[in-house]
């Protein structure tokens, strides 16, 4: 879409009435969610609606104002907070990384790649070598200029068998990084991967200075300079005057963690903070009625699920798994627990927020008859079925209670074992016979399926092993024909839906909230706070 179009959005596809309403909504500061709903109602296709709204809201947005300070409140935070890109694990880490560092590429709201510190990136013919041309004249916060050496150093920290990187698996197919010139680097691949630039736009691949080993503070090329970083307490960033881009607009940005959801809500309502993550869905009505607060919702395909390990005799029982899948009251999760901020899950991870979502897959619904049939075949009877659960996200435990309620009606005896959230991933997840999980959306369907369902995947929750699935998953990476590609993705999703041991009840939108003077939100669906991408673009309307 051209810049010209952005300045003068063309709504000629819509009827005259709709056009007027749309214009009014845009000027009136309608939220993106309102807009998408409206466009859907007006009969626009989702894709079209998304692009029009994206560009139109940008076009009508007032010019950002400079100045002011914002306090962002994320959730869990503690001594484990880090500003080392390769070690970061939590939402608050990702939010901070974006403030202090830059990365080669940047993902936008449609999960497409925009250039950032790399101005150009191109593969060779078979996507086995990727060449990145770096932006010149980019300064680190200490005044030094960013060059290929910094990029190579940053990327090499993800390489090798002994790397501590939490994201090493994402770049496991990179063989080595090579410096071509002061502003040009190359990645040599072990196997072709057309998605490397997308991967490099995600959280962990931030560019640090060559040789950095001390992460008590952050020295990056990001829009904010770290003036304070105390793990578990706060970080403060001040505008980096020599930032290469247009932003940032704020003078200062403070990031804190408030673990308790009710306290976080209190803090926003009282005006102690300007933005919070993870609004309790049940408080949304109250917040929307509150004049001073706007919801910041992003449709994502993230989900909480229940996984039964198929390598354990009892829980590997296909009939038991199918019974659970038919017992999941998905409507209740979306309407009751998420208060409409989500979409029905279909026992496979590729929700409708992914480009490769398969819309033809039949929707599973609560079906006690089928469930009863499978449960009787399973021969489990009244033996207690333990499910380990922790409140990893709003509704993670409640989905189990909902399942348990329906199960009790057909004589299935589910026993909830609630454990503490922290330490859960180390000691319970993947280890208990049946457990709950929580998955963020990934930038591509292939990344998601590779991480969670490939038979060799470390995080294969249900130990799902299917040779045909693996073959299709690897083969589709090289397929360019749209029709063949979507057919293959549909096959993959069907196999997971039918055979894997995971019950996915719903996909959950990211629901954050801001005080009404906060503008410039981003909508990248990979994390809260607009994919953690917002820092550079946020501004205050009241300065």
């Amino acid at each position: 879409m051209s810049d010209e179009y952005l300045k003068n959005p063309d709504f000629s596809n819509l009827g005259a009435n709709d056009r007027t309403r749309l214009n009014r909504m845009l000027r009136g500061g309608a939220t993106r969610r309102d807009m998408l709903g409206f466009m859907g109602a007006a009969g626009a296709s989702a894709l079209f609606a998304g692009s029009v709204v994206g560009s139109a809201t940008r076009a009508y947005a007032e010019a950002p104002k400079r100045g002011g300070r914002l306090i962002l409140a994320d959730d869990a935070s503690g001594p484990e907070d880090t500003v080392d890109p390769i070690l970061s694990t939590s939402s608050i880490d990702y939010v901070r990384l974006r403030q202090f560092y830059g990365s080669l590429t940047r993902l936008n709201a449609n999960l497409q790649v925009d250039p950032e510190l790399a101005v150009e990136f191109m593969p060779n013919a078979d996507a086995t070598v990727w060449t990145f041309k770096l932006r010149e004249g980019v300064e680190f916060h200490d005044g030094q200029t960013m060059t290929a050496d910094d990029v190579i150093y940053s990327m090499n920290r993800h390489m090798g068998a002994n790397t501590l990187s939490k994201a090493a698996a994402l770049v496991a197919d990179v063989d080595r990084w090579e410096k071509v010139g002061p502003y040009e680097v190359r990645a040599h691949m072990k196997s072709p991967n057309a998605d490397l630039p997308i991967i490099l736009g995600t959280f962990h691949f931030k560019i640090i200075k060559d040789g950095t080993s001390d992460f008590t503070t952050a020295v990056g090329t990001g829009p904010f300079r770290a003036v304070e970083f105390q793990p578990g307490i706060r970080s403060v960033g001040r505008r980096f005057e020599n930032y290469w881009g247009n932003g940032p607009y704020l003078d200062e940005i403070e990031t804190i963690g408030i673990a308790d959801a009710d306290s976080r809500l209190n803090a926003l309502i009282a005006g102690d903070v300007d933005a919070i993550v993870e609004v309790p869905p049940k408080s949304m009505n109250m917040l929307e009625a509150n004049g001073g607060i706007n919801l910041w919702t992003v449709k994502t395909a993230s989900y909480a699920n229940i996984a039964a390990r198929m390598d354990v005799a009892d829980t590997g029982n296909q009939d038991l798994i199918l019974a659970m899948k038919h017992l999941m009251d998905r409507e209740r999760i979306v309407k009751g627990v998420l208060k409409g901020q989500g979409t029905l899950g279909n026992d496979q991870p590729i929700g409708s927020a992914y480009a490769d979502h398969c819309a033809d897959l039949p929707q599973r619904t609560l079906d006690p008859e089928k469930a009863k049939y499978h449960f009787e075949r399973s021969g489990i009877g009244s033996t207690p079925i333990p499910i380990a659960a922790a409140e990893l996200t709003a509704g993670a435990v409640e989905q189990v209670l909902i399942l348990q309620r329906e199960a009790a009606k057909i004589g299935m005896n589910i026993e909830v074992q609630k454990v503490s959230t922290d330490g859960y991933y180390g000691s319970v997840w993947l280890k208990a016979p049946i457990f709950v999980g929580f998955w963020n959306m990934r930038p591509t369907a292939n990344a998601m399926l590779s991480l969670a369902y490939a038979s060799s995947a470390k995080w294969n929750e249900s130990k799902f092993v299917n040779e045909q699935f693996d073959q299709t998953l690897y083969a589709v990476r090289a397929v360019t024909d749209t029709q063949q590609r979507s057919q293959m993705y549909c096959d993959l999703q069907t196999m997971v839906q039918e055979d894997a041991g995971t019950v996915i009840g719903a996909h959950k939108n990211a629901v954050d909230a801001v005080r009404s003077y906060v503008r410039g939100m981003t909508y990248v669906p990979l994390n809260s706070f607009g994919g953690a991408e917002a820092a550079e673009f946020l501004w205050r309307d009241d300065v």
Partner: protein, 315 residues
């Protein structure tokens, strides 16, 4: 000689005790706060207390059988609306997950009373046995137990509970054992202090002189005299167990869902204060805890007054 004293009402200060270098063995608190009285008689608040406690016990016993919904059942399965106001079908409204408050209150009554009762009884079994034993035996065993007790008291009790629950998971059995052992420390203090007071009595000396065995002395001489002051502390201990479990549930542990206990019900539904259509979901369990504990305390006060009289009379 130095003596150690014990707070009877240490409460939130589960570690409360002091080591006061005074030549007096008396246990502080209501034990000795009023004039001697002959026969045990309930005051008006005492009667109110008995009535309320009986009400809750009956409620806990019969409630779950009479009330139509289970702990995880939905009174209005087609409605997706939490924190509903009281109405026919859900006489106290619905909770954060659309469930019936009244039913959960009844199940919660049973569980809250049983768990706190079991934990307190355990605390007493361990604490009183060791405490009175220490007092009678004295010497090195008394010193060693006293030091261990000191050490355990210096650790924050919630932390202790967290470590245990993190190590072995949470179940009613674990909760009872953990809370029981934590509070056994406090009971030990109390029992030992009371025991020390009785051990120096003439009749104990006489029994010793007669050559009676240790167990006989504890059972026949010490226990009958230590019984009532110990029991008068029982009610308070119960309150602290309830609060201890509710604090654990604030940190995401405690009683397992979907089971209800009053402390966790307050926690689950705390959002009702902020964004609920009805505040009953959080006020109902909070009031239940308050009325039960205040009532127990009324009864405790009467018992202490009576015991205080007896003790002062004897000393």
């Amino acid at each position: 000689m130095t003596q150690e004293h014990s707070f009877q009402t240490d409460g939130v200060l589960t570690n409360a005790h002091w080591v006061a270098p005074q030549g007096d063995d008396r246990v502080y608190d209501e034990l000795s706060d009023s004039a001697p009285r002959g026969t045990f008689r309930l005051s008006i608040p005492g009667w109110i207390g008995v009535a309320v406690v009986v009400f809750w016990i009956v409620f806990a016993a019969i409630g779950p059988m009479v009330i139509p919904w289970g702990e995880n059942d939905l009174p209005f399965p087609d409605a997706y609306s939490e924190f509903q106001a009281p109405q026919p079908g859900a006489w106290l409204g619905t909770d954060v997950s659309d469930r019936d408050i009244l039913s959960r209150l009844a199940w919660g009554a049973r569980r809250t009373i049983l768990i706190s009762l079991a934990a307190t009884v355990l605390a007493y079994l361990v604490g009183v046995t060791l405490g009175l034993g220490s007092a009678v035996v004295g010497g090195r065993i008394d010193t060693i137990l006293g030091r261990i007790n000191d050490a355990l008291l210096s650790l924050p009790s919630l932390m202790f509970g967290l470590v245990v629950v993190a190590a072995v998971g949470s179940s009613s059995f674990i909760l009872i054992t953990t809370a029981g052992l934590i509070y056994a420390n406090v009971v030990y203090r109390l029992a030992r202090a009371i025991g020390m007071e009785i051990v120096v009595m003439d009749y104990v000396e006489a029994a010793r002189a007669r050559g009676e065995g240790l167990w006989w002395i504890i059972r026949r001489e010490i226990w009958p005299n230590a019984r009532i002051p110990l029991i008068s502390d029982f009610g308070l201990r119960l309150i602290f167990v309830i609060l201890f479990i509710s604090s654990l549930s604030f940190l995401g542990l405690g009683v397992q869902p979907p089971h209800a206990d009053w402390g966790s019900m307050v926690r689950e539904n705390i959002g009702a204060l902020q964004y609920g259509d009805s505040m009953v979901p959080v006020l109902a369990p909070a009031l239940a805890i308050a009325t039960l504990t205040i009532s127990i305390n009324f009864i405790v006060d009467d018992v202490s007054t009576y015991v205080g009289g007896k003790l002062s009379g004897r000393v």
